[in-house]
């Protein structure tokens, strides 16, 4: 996890196209400028970055299910709950489940757990759009780097 580069997913642990579920893992970095401000002397992973982490896991899920035909752009966050604090060094288990694939949009539910505890959960909506420019190539490379199974890509 590299917060400054918005690389929130370290590894895709599993991708089940039939069940429409993706599981991923990530480790909150020990050091980051983010923690200098959030909060001074009390480093905590910001809720907005936990939301981004859920969104990225959901995004890779959608990319895998659609075989990279469209790019999912985050369009809505509903029912976001942040249930416990997460600090530097915490291991995160992220799960994203497809709720609905509509025409031009998709809805997922995602959650993060750490040390067996529920950290956060939310329902996320994505607008599905054609890839701008060569973004598909970039996304395929990133997906491959984090272990999204090749047959899904």
């Amino acid at each position: 996890m590299r917060l400054e580069y918005f690389q929130m997913i370290d590894r895709v642990a599993s991708f089940d196209a039939a069940a429409q579920v993706l599981s991923a893992t990530s480790t909150v970095p020990d050091d980051s400028p983010v923690f200098e401000g959030h909060f001074p002397g009390h480093p905590l992973m910001p809720g907005v970055l936990l939301t981004e982490t859920m969104a990225q896991a959901s995004g890779y899920l959608v990319l895998g299910l659609l075989k990279f035909s469209h790019m999912p752009f985050l369009a809505g966050v509903e029912k976001a709950k942040f249930r416990t604090f997460v600090g530097p060094g915490a291991g995160l288990a992220i799960e994203a489940q497809l709720v609905h694939h509509g025409s031009g949009y998709a809805v997922t539910k995602a959650k993060i757990r750490s040390d067996g505890k529920a950290v956060c959960d939310a329902e996320l909506m994505f607008r599905l759009m054609p890839f701008p420019n060569d973004m598909a190539t970039v996304m395929r490379a990133q997906a491959q780097a984090i272990g999204l199974v090749p047959e899904a890509a």
Partner: protein, 93 residues
């Protein structure tokens, strides 16, 4: 059982915080009710769930953008409801 229009009007009212009495079968979702494209995704999601269908928004948008079909055909609520009924009937057939 609520009519298609009642269900759709309630969805729009709740999703977009529009007083239910302002929503009529003649209302144009975009021009009269001010529904934007993002809010319409929320509405589409609720309609898809409520009726067990998949509104073909991409196809509709393309047809409107290409000038093949006037927007009223899809976004005036009585017309939208007729399309929903057709999709429900096609699914049941």
């Amino acid at each position: 059982m609520a009519s298609t229009f009642e269900t759709v009007a309630n969805i729009i009212s709740e999703t977009c915080d529009i007083p239910r009495e302002q929503i009529t079968p003649e209302s144009h979702a975009i021009e009269d009710l001010g529904v934007d494209s993002l809010a319409f995704l929320d509405i589409a999601f609720a309609i898809d769930k409520a009726f067990g269908i998949k509104l073909p928004l991409e196809q509709w948008t393309q047809e409107v953008n290409e000038g093949k079909v006037p927007a009223e055909e899809y976004f005036v609520l009585k017309n939208l409801c007729a399309r929903i009924d057709q999709l429900v009937a096609a699914k049941a057939a």
